[in-house]
């Protein structure tokens, strides 16, 4: 994820043009799919990218903004290298997800929805990731972790931040 660099640097628009052109000859040039791929590419949805999508797809920017802010997947600000999604589904709630969340807040020094200043982690909560049988659970990027305890949680975060610590 190049989110943090691209914030300051000039954003390469050729990627978003490529993405839009892939959908151009289809019956439904689906806006959501375009936005999903653009976010995969840029790490988030910079304003300039949205403007480009608006002009190439001929969709008013207000409508695009409406869609982006409706779905929880989309973000207008750069995200961390790793996304941590803590499940707050019913089973996780009953089995103490709050303790896991608190541990993550303490460990990363951020709240849900925020990104660490070094852009290593973004902390989010998600309603359910369908792994209720191993509650409480979280997902780091696309990997699931179950039966969490406060200690286990910080160990897992540790494995993701080790590399960073080593280089500092």
């Amino acid at each position: 994820m190049e989110g943090k660099e691209s914030n300051k640097q000039v954003i390469d628009m050729s990627c978003v043009r490529d993405i839009v052109s892939k959908f151009a000859d289809r019956d439904d040039p689906n806006l959501i799919s375009v936005l999903q791929q653009a976010q995969d590419e840029y790490g988030y949805l910079p304003k300039s990218v949205l403007k480009e999508i608006s002009s190439v797809m001929d969709i008013p920017l207000t409508r695009i903004f409406g869609v982006v802010t409706f779905y929880s997947q989309f973000t207008l600000t750069p995200r961390g290298r790793h996304s941590i999604k803590v499940c707050s589904g019913t089973a996780c709630h009953v089995k103490g997800a709050e303790g896991v969340k608190q541990k993550l807040r303490d460990e990363l020094q951020i709240n849900e929805g925020e990104t660490t200043p070094d852009y290593q982690f973004t902390l989010e909560t998600v309603a359910c990731i369908g792994t209720c049988f191993l509650a409480p659970v979280m997902m780091v990027d696309e990997r699931y972790y179950g039966k969490l305890t406060a200690d286990k949680t910080s160990d897992i975060v540790g494995t993701y931040s080790n590399k960073k610590l080593g280089s500092e």
């Binding site: 689906n30 089973a91 309603a127 049988f133 191993l134 659970v137 179950g146």
Partner: protein, 545 residues
């Protein structure tokens, strides 16, 4: 590269070849590689493969990656067949011993066995969790490699589709589904055949079929398990439905939070295309149909069908008033049939065995089986399939093994944020669509969260209200404002700052929200509140200073 199937004969020949291919004396090691990944199944699977190779056991042992085997509480789990030994909490370190003792010498390793009241039960067939279930829809889940279509076909996959394409007219398929009594498994419980009939009768050059795999209910993972463990069953069900209603294009709307499900489904669609089970002139029948995956972008309300349609069209996922129903005007204003994952997964069975066979399972009000996601304060959390009409007690105690830590059962939350809490006095309730509704819950999609005596029911009501308030799309006032105000009252109550009038106010607001909201989300949002007030009023009163 799979060979394209030009006719039903080709499919039959392929099935025979696949059966032959898997008929061997090899010991098969089935490792769950879906839900169990959360506790290291990938490493276990990798170690098995490595060891089998280095020890030169390829002729004797086959390691198979499977979908969910059900008893998720013991993750990572695996089965060795023959002789049908089930092991749980397997780690990379236990792999060498499993190979040397169990696979090569047939000895049971006690510490990996499932235990009940101190007794070790090595064989899957003896474990109550398994032998009290009836795995019909889940017959392949945990047994086949979901990424290998040959496994599916060897187990009679796509046979039902062949019967539909070559032996029944579209109306005949719909009649068969109607007669089977299959009802929507997503929660609504609408008769599936009737729904298909509406779309069949709608006049239009283009029709669509949509699979609702936006399983957003917190506490539900049945659809996830089916998509991950047996994706071809859903694909086959969709092709059959498309043929019956006359659609040539289908979409699977699946949650982005389910990366393994998306991956397996992509695999299945790709393989089905190669086999000419998707695309033009399917099996030489002259029928054309193709499928596409649409990934959801994270909005619970998109489980509601009109919101889901808006989302596939690339818009904000907001519901609209019905009628017109999607069967008349759905995706891009064309007649559209939307069913849930589990519903589609039932279709191949009905096609293959006929509706009379299917009706042997379940009750008069609901035939077939239902898959439940059993979680919360229960010993055997996992995936459970039972005939409709099974009692809650059987699921929670006989299959689920009861409540851990000698605590008491307090309630089972059924149907997620649209459902309600069923208290101990209704444990003997036979679960089907109608009886669950009578006690203020709904069958819902099948989420079943067990709560013990330590759970505060008022806090659970607050929890669900927080969830629906966050997920309310904001289009209609009753839902937008009602959920917000109810959440405020519940938060106040939980904090011990409530007053006498709060309970009455809550009930009033709940009824208004229920009666006046535009879509299912708002109409059912007050259910958790109403059912907790109904059964646990004392807990509310105790919180009032």
């Amino acid at each position: 590269m799979l060979k394209s199937l030009k006719s039903n004969d080709d499919l039959v020949a392929m099935k025979e070849a696949c059966e032959e291919k898997f008929k061997s004396d090899k010991v098969r090691v089935y490792v769950c590689m879906t839900g169990c990944r959360a506790l290291g199944a990938e490493e276990v699977y990798g170690e098995f493969q490595k060891q089998v190779k280095t020890q030169g056991l390829e002729d004797k042992v086959e390691v198979v990656e499977t979908g969910c085997q059900g008893l998720c509480a013991k993750a990572p789990v695996m089965t060795i067949d023959p002789p049908g030994i089930f092991y749980g909490r397997v780690s990379v370190d236990s792999v060498p011993e499993i190979i040397s003792s169990t696979i090569l010498k047939g000895e049971v390793i006690n510490k990996l066995c499932y235990a009940e009241s101190g007794k070790k039960i090595p064989y899957m067939k003896d474990i109550p969790f398994y032998n009290r279930q009836q795995k019909v829809v889940l017959r392949n889940c945990g047994v086949i490699d979901p990424k290998n279509v040959e496994h599916y076909i060897a187990r009679k996959g796509y046979e039902g589709l062949a019967r539909a394409l070559f032996h029944l007219p579209p109306e005949g398929i719909i009649k068969e589904i109607e007669n089977s009594g299959l009802r929507g498994r997503g929660g609504g419980g609408f008769p599936t055949g009737t729904k298909w009939g509406f779309v069949r009768k709608a006049k239009s050059d283009i029709k669509y079929i949509v699979c609702n795999a936006d399983e957003g209910d917190p506490g539900a993972f049945m659809d996830r398990a089916i998509l991950e463990g047996d994706p071809h069953a859903v694909v086959e069900g969709m092709i059959t439905a498309a043929f019956a209603i006359g659609a040539n294009k289908g979409f699977v709307y699946v949650r982005a939070e389910y990366p393994i499900a998306v991956d397996h489904l992509e695999f299945a669609i790709h393989q089905a295309r190669q086999l000419n089970l998707l695309g033009d002139n399917i099996l030489g029948s002259g029928f054309n149909f193709d499928l596409e995956i649409k990934k959801g972008a994270g909005a619970f309300v998109c489980g509601e069908e009109t919101a889901l349609i808006a989302s596939i069209e690339g818009k904000r996922g907001m519901p609209r008033p019905r009628p017109p129903f999607p069967a008349i005007s759905g995706l891009w204003q064309k007649p559209t049939n939307i069913n849930n994952v589990e519903t589609f997964a039932n279709v191949p069975l009905i096609m293959q065995h006929g509706s009379e066979w299917y009706k042997q399972f379940g009750t008069k009000n609901g035939s077939g089986t239902k898959i439940f996601a059993l979680a919360g304060n229960v010993k055997n959390t996992g995936l459970v399939e039972v005939p409709m009409g099974t009692t809650l007690r059987e699921i929670v105690f006989d299959i689920g093994g009861g409540i851990p830590g000698r605590r008491q059962f307090k309630a089972a939350q059924m149907g997620g944020p649209s459902g309600g809490c069923v208290p101990a006095e209704h444990l003997d309730l036979p679960i089907d669509y109608e009886s669950v509704k009578e006690v203020g819950a709904i069958m819902g999609s099948g989420g079943l969260i067990v709560m013990d005596e330590k759970t505060s029911m008022v806090e659970i009501a607050r929890y669900f209200m927080e969830f629906v308030q966050e997920e309310s799309c904001g289009k209609c006032g009753p839902c937008r404002i009602g959920t917000k105000r109810m959440l405020e009252v519940l938060t106040r109550l939980v904090a011990g700052n409530g007053c006498r009038e709060d309970i009455e106010d809550l009930t009033k607001m709940a009824h208004v929200t229920k009666n006046a909201s535009l879509c299912g989300l708002g109409q059912t949002a007050p259910n958790p509140v109403l059912s907790t007030i109904r059964f646990f009023l004392k807990e509310f009163e105790e919180l009032i200073p």
